[in-house]
Every structure is written in C-alpha cells, then in structure tokens.
C-alpha cells in the first residue's frame, strides 16, 4: 500500500461494509480524541517533557539574557596626556564627566599597551605633547582614539562614545571662547522603541524564538522516536488510526507544552529582563501558534527520519540551534552576509518569528511587519506538515 493510500485510507472499511460519511467523521473524531488523550497522559507521566517545557526555557533564557550583551556599560579608557596643561585637564574633565567612562591617566602611551592587550581597558585616548600649543596657535589639535579591533563591535561603540565626549568638550570650548566656530551641522539622534539602547531588549525576544524552536522540535522529535524505540509503534499501527490522525495526536499535547514554554519565557522576559510588551497579547498568541506549528511539525519530520530518541534529539538540537543562531537575525546581521547565505536565511522559520517577536515586544502591533511574518510561518507550517505526512511510513520495515 503506498503512502498516499495510507493517508486517504477509508476508515472502518471492515469486511466490505461501506460506512456512512457521518459515521466516518465521527469515528475519526473519536480516534483523534483517544490519541490526544493517550499522548497527553503519556506526556504528563513522563517528567522529561515537563522539564523540557519549563526548566529548559528558563535555563536558556538565563544564559542568553545575561550571557550575551552588546552594551558597553563601563568603558575603561586609558588617557595619555604627554604634556599636562589646563587645556588637557579640561579634556580629561569632559571624559570623566561622562557617566560610563572609567578614566585612568598616564603620561606615556606604553603604560597602557599591556592593559589593552589583556583587555583590561577598552581604548586609549592620546593627547599629544603639542596639544596645548596647537590649540593656542589655532592649529588643529588632534585627539587620537585607539581601540581594540579584535572586538570590532566594542571598538565601534567605544569610538562613538569617545567622539561624543570629544564633541561636548569642543562645544564647551566654543561656548566659553565665544567663537562662532561650532559645528555647522548638528545631528540629533533619536532612537525609537528602545531609547535606553539596551541590547537585552532585542536579544531577549530573539532568544525566545530560538528557544521555542529548540523546544518545539525537541519535544515532538522525541515522542515519535520513543514509540519506535519502545516498540509501541506496532500497537499503534495495528489500530485503525490513519497517519494524519496519528500526527494530530502527537502534535496537540506538545502544542500545549510549547505554549507553557512560551508563557514561561514571556513571564521571564517581562519580569526578570524588564522587556516591555507593547503589542497585544492576542497578536503574540497568534504569532506563537503559527511558529509552534512549524517547530512541532519540524520535530515530527525529524522523528520520521531518526528512529532513536538519542539521534532524534541530536538532529533536533542541531537543526534548530545552528540556523536559529546564525540565520534568524537574532544576533548577527543578515544584511551583511554574503548573498547565498542571505537567501538561505529566508528559509529559516526562526527568522520570521524573531522579527515578529521583536516588533510585538518593542514596537507594538505593526501590521506591515507582522502580517507577512505570520503568513509566511503559516505557509511554512503547512508545507512541513504535508512533507511529514508524505514521509511518514507507517510500516515496520
């Protein structure tokens, strides 16, 4: 019997007795109900699924939320003043007045060489020996900012911070000297949605997407392979349940567990990481539902390939973790990647959920972002479910 036959196999086709369509439907509902109950009981009895749904998200969110941060909270700066004068003193003042700088002063730049090499400071600012003379002469007095390029992100941020302090020193100087030499164009930056510039605010929603992908695929990947491993799949095959019914039975309880994992993650995000929730809970539920369907059916697809729990969990972790980490836009910049990788990222479901979650948490219900994201997730879930149903060989060989 081909797979296709299996999927559309008439139910209760017992010894040539043609069943009435309504009976058929009723029979199907009854079987699905029974399967869902069986799976739910099994899930509740096995503590490992509950651990995956409750403990794992907390643990992972803790690691991502606290472990990854791009916010340079204190910038430790080595200030080299080769020739101290009142002018350099005022510059030092401008740096020290900025709350996030931790300034140490020395007369020789070599004093900070080891500190920069050992990452004990984030940057060195050098005022040359002729700084004051040049200022007095009306020449351009250079301020050198040296950062550690081996951490490019921090280097860029530190440069920007020092430039900010330098600019305010310059403004102060212009103001006190009364010269109309102030910068002609003054950029006024305004950051929407996250004015405090806390990277955690966008990293936490992103990590929730990654975590839910892992958990969703892990949960369902385990349940089918468990049946194979324990041999109970034979008993299931002997029942009149068809492949779709079998799959629905597997997905429903894990969907509820996935929702529990999501609720735990969202609670953690709101109350531990203080991420705002600007969108509506309804949109959040909608996006989560669409994404969970993708994640759960991806798990099912994995378990149709892997017949041991061990292998299934390995594949689920790897297949959800690596693409989720690299190609979801959660940490790394998709736009800066080479074109083939950018194209590949379009196929990663986590990408759309990361974008949806960041918008729901930080910006609100913005249809222009959320409608495409959720639609794509729905299409993906249908595609994966169809693929799974086609691949599920309900045979023992």
């Amino acid at each position: 019997m081909s797979d296709h036959d299996l999927m559309t196999r008439p139910l209760a086709k017992v010894q040539g007795v043609e069943a009435h369509p309504i009976d058929l439907r009723r029979g199907r509902m009854r079987r699905i109900n029974a399967l869902v109950r069986k799976e739910a009981l099994q899930t509740l009895r096995d503590p490992s699924s509950l651990i995956v749904a409750v403990v794992l998200p907390v643990l992972l969110l803790f690691l991502y939320g606290f472990g990854v941060s791009f916010d340079v909270t204190t910038v430790r700066i080595g200030l080299v003043i080769e020739n101290p004068t009142p002018d350099t003193g005022r510059f030092q003042q401008a740096l020290s007045n900025t709350p996030f700088f931790d300034v140490r002063v020395s007369g020789d730049r070599r004093a900070f060489l080891n500190d920069l090499t050992a990452s004990r400071i984030e940057g060195v600012v050098v005022l040359g020996g002729d700084f004051t003379q040049r200022l007095a002469r009306g020449d351009t007095a250079p301020v050198q900012i040296i950062t550690d390029g081996s951490d490019p992100n921090t280097a860029s941020l530190v440069t920007a911070y020092v430039q900010g302090a330098w600019q305010s020193w310059l403004d102060q100087r212009q103001l006190s000297s009364g010269a109309a030499n102030a910068a002609l164009i003054t950029p006024i930056p305004r950051i929407w949605f996250n004015p405090e510039l806390e990277s955690r605010r966008f990293l936490v929603p992103g990590s929730i997407a990654l975590i839910l992908m892992m958990i969703g695929s892990l949960l369902t990947a385990l349940v089918v392979s468990r049946e194979w491993e324990r041999g109970t799949i034979e008993a299931l095959l002997a029942t009149p349940a068809s492949v779709p019914e079998f799959l629905i039975g597997k997905v429903v309880p894990n969907f509820i567990l996935g929702c529990v994992a999501m609720a735990v993650s969202v609670t953690f995000a709101l109350f531990v990481f203080h991420v705002p929730l600007r969108g509506s809970v309804l949109t959040l539920i909608l996006a989560t539902t669409a994404f969970l369907l993708v994640a759960l059916s991806a798990g099912l697809l994995i378990s149709t390939v892997a017949r041991t729990q061990f292998l299934a969990s390995q594949i689920a972790m790897l297949a959800s973790f690596l693409p989720g980490l690299f190609f979801s836009g959660f940490i790394f910049e998709l736009a800066s990647m080479p074109a083939p990788l950018r194209a590949f990222s379009q196929l990663v479901p986590a990408r759309y959920f990361v974008s949806a979650l960041q918008t729901i948490f930080l910006a609100g219900d913005i249809a222009a972002v959320l409608v495409p994201d959720i639609l794509i997730l729905m299409v993906m879930s249908v595609a994966v479910i169809v693929l799974t149903a086609r691949n599920s060989k309900m045979r023992l060989d």
């Binding site: 472990g67 966008f202 910049e333």
Partner: protein, 370 residues
C-alpha cells in the same frame, strides 16, 4: 617511566576513537560547517541596510548631502519620503533602519553659517546596529559640514578625533571570530571524544573489565586523558593551519605561548569530561551532561560578546569557565602579540580547574572500584 601497559591502553583508546566511521565523520563535518558559518555569517557589521531620507529643504546643500548618502557603501537603498507620517511607517515597518530628517531651513542656515540641525531617527528594535549606523551617518554629516566651508578663510578646525583600531585595523568580524574557533571547536571535539568513549565502555561493560585489569585508577584516567590531549592538539593544529593559511590571519604572538595555553586548556577540558563521565552511566546521560556543560560554557565565555558586558554577579561564573581564559589567550596571541607574562595570568586559573576536576574524577572512579 611510562609503563608498557599504559602505552597499550593509550593505543587502544586511540584506535577505539577512530574506528567508528560515524565518529570519524563527527570529527570532520561539524568543524567544517562551523568554520564556514563563523567566517561568513558571524558578523555584526552594518552594511546593505536601507535608510530613509525626508527632505523638507529645497536648497542645493541638502541635495548635495543626499548624494553623499547615495554614494555611501553602507546603505543598500535610500527611500525618499515626503511626510512625517511616512517616516513613522518606514521605521515601523522596518523598510528603513534609520531615517534622516532634513528641516526646511537647512540650506538657508548653512548659507548664513548658522547651525543646521539634522534629525536622525533610528529603529531601536535593532539598537546595536542602529548605534553603529548612527555613527556612520554622523561622520558623513561632519565630513559634509567640513567640506561645505572648505576654501573659506575660516580658521582650521580646533580639533579632530582620529579613530584608529589596533590589532585588527579594519575591524573585520571574521578576523575576530575565526581564531576563537581554535578554542571552541577543540573544546567540543575533546569533550565529546572522552565523554562518549567512557560511556560507550560503560554500556558495553568493557569498563568493568578495565577496572578489574591490573591497571591502577590513575592509569585508567591517564589512558583516557592522553588520547584526548593528542586529539585536541591535532584538532587545534589543523584549525591553526586553516586560520593562518586559508583565512590569512597571521599569528602575531609566539606559537610556543599558544601551545602552552592550549595544553593547560585541554587538561582542564579533559578534567571536566572525565568528571562528567564518572557521573554518567549511559551514552545518553553522558551526551546530556556534555551539553549541559557546553551551552553555558559557550554563552558565558566572551565568545559572542565581551565578558565585561555581563552583569557583575555573573562574572565569577565566567571566570570559572576555562574557555573564557583560553579565548583571551587565543585572541591575544593571534591578534595582539600577547606576551607570556599576560598569558600566564590566564593559565593559572585553567590549571586550577584542571587539577580540581581531574582529582575529583580520579576519586570518583576509585570509589567505583572500592
């Protein structure tokens, strides 16, 4: 003096590690995938991003400014907007990461040498990229302002800020990320080799045979540790060659210092692996144990973002992680020509971790015999 039976055990372990074709694949494929990913996908650089311009000014100056934006390579395209509400919706819908708002009086103000403010609106949903983008836009504006007044009999600028990066002058992400693989890939390989080899023997029952053989517990530990060390050094050497030959990232520091750090790091990882395997009795438990160690070890190591940025109360945990110290050494020796004196400060903590975990594992194994 190394006893012949110890050598026999080490040889046996090495053969066991490479016999299984699946394990051989596990040595080659995951490292290759990771090298590919970290060299091309692990980037926080901001380029190819769309920005929006809302220009209310009809003068020549704003047109010149916009043509500067058009020529900048960081932007993939520029959206031209005509109203405040369009700005709002362009940012909301993520059609632009930033919007530059040029006011009505821009050209007039510049012509009369008055300050001309330019508003930059940024999408905080990607606040890190937004900050970097803001830096780009600022420098374009500053340069434009400087060029605008060029040739006039104005005094030269009072001061300028010269921005220089040491160790990685172009701030290439791949240069910063790839050397770290010497630490992370070596760690994962060695951890799994040891953990799985002990657990496999447990499952097959051959570990009992080892325990009843004339080998001392210490010898069993050494027998498991030495192959791990050999494999670790081999993997690290292969990645070193890849980093320097294929990616052309030069090793600025001394190779000797790097290997001194590597061997102590490997001892610490081997100690942790042996400790995990002394607790696990099946392959599945061993794998789980390795994962439970690995995920925090990767996240709390400064691999993704600097340890310095973590909350203060979490820093001690990061210091207890051997990978944290080894990543400092690897990045230091590759990119910053780190002297032995500074490397030594990072070797001591790893040595302490190695001693603690190896003695704990030995004690646990010995207890099993007793």
């Amino acid at each position: 003096m190394i006893s012949p039976r110890l050598i026999a055990l080490i040889v046996k372990e090495l053969i066991a590690a490479f016999r299984d074709p699946k394990t051989r694949i596990a040595f080659i494929i995951p490292p290759l995938i990771q090298v590919l990913l970290y060299s091309s996908a692990a980037t926080l650089e901001v380029k190819n991003v769309p920005i929006a311009v809302y220009n209310e000014d009809w003068g020549e100056a704003s047109r010149q400014l916009i043509s500067r934006f058009e020529r900048a390579s960081a932007f993939s395209r520029i959206l031209y907007l005509t109203s405040e509400s369009e700005v709002q919706s362009a940012i909301d819908s993520q059609r632009a990461l930033a919007a530059v708002h040029i006011g009505q009086d821009f050209s007039r103000n510049l012509a009369s040498r008055q300050q001309a403010p330019v508003q930059i609106l940024l999408d905080g949903r990607r606040s890190n990229s937004a900050q970097i983008l803001s830096g780009y836009l600022n420098s374009i504006l500053t340069q434009f302002a400087a060029d605008y007044v060029q040739g006039e009999t104005r005094p030269p600028a009072v001061s300028d800020a010269l921005d220089r990066s040491w160790y990685n002058p172009n701030r290439e992400y791949s240069t910063a990320m790839i050397p770290a693989l010497v630490g992370t890939l070596t760690m994962t390989t060695v951890l799994f080799v040891i953990v799985m080899s002990v657990a496999r023997e447990r499952e097959l029952g051959t570990f009992e045979q080892l325990l009843v053989s004339p080998l001392l517990p210490v010898e069993i530990i050494i027998g498991k540790a030495v192959p791990g060390l050999i494999i670790g050094v081999a993997v690290a050497t292969a990645i070193n060659l890849l980093v320097t030959r294929v990616f052309g990232i030069p090793l600025t520091g001394s190779l000797f210092v790097l290997y001194a750090g590597l061997i102590v790091f490997l001892l610490a990882i081997i100690g942790i692996a042996l400790f995990i395997s002394s607790l696990a009795s099946t392959q599945q438990q061993a794998m789980l144990g390795a994962m439970v160690f690995m995920m925090p070890a990767m996240m709390l190591s400064g691999f993704m973002s600097p340890v310095q940025n973590m909350p203060v109360w979490l820093q001690p945990l990061a210091q207890m992680n051997p990978l944290t110290h080894f990543l400092v050494i690897v990045r230091g020796v590759f990119l910053r020509d780190m002297p032995m004196m500074l490397v030594a400060q990072r070797i001591w903590p790893m040595l302490a971790i190695a001693i603690c975990t190896i003695s704990a594992a030995t004690w646990l194994f010995r207890r099993k015999i007793g």
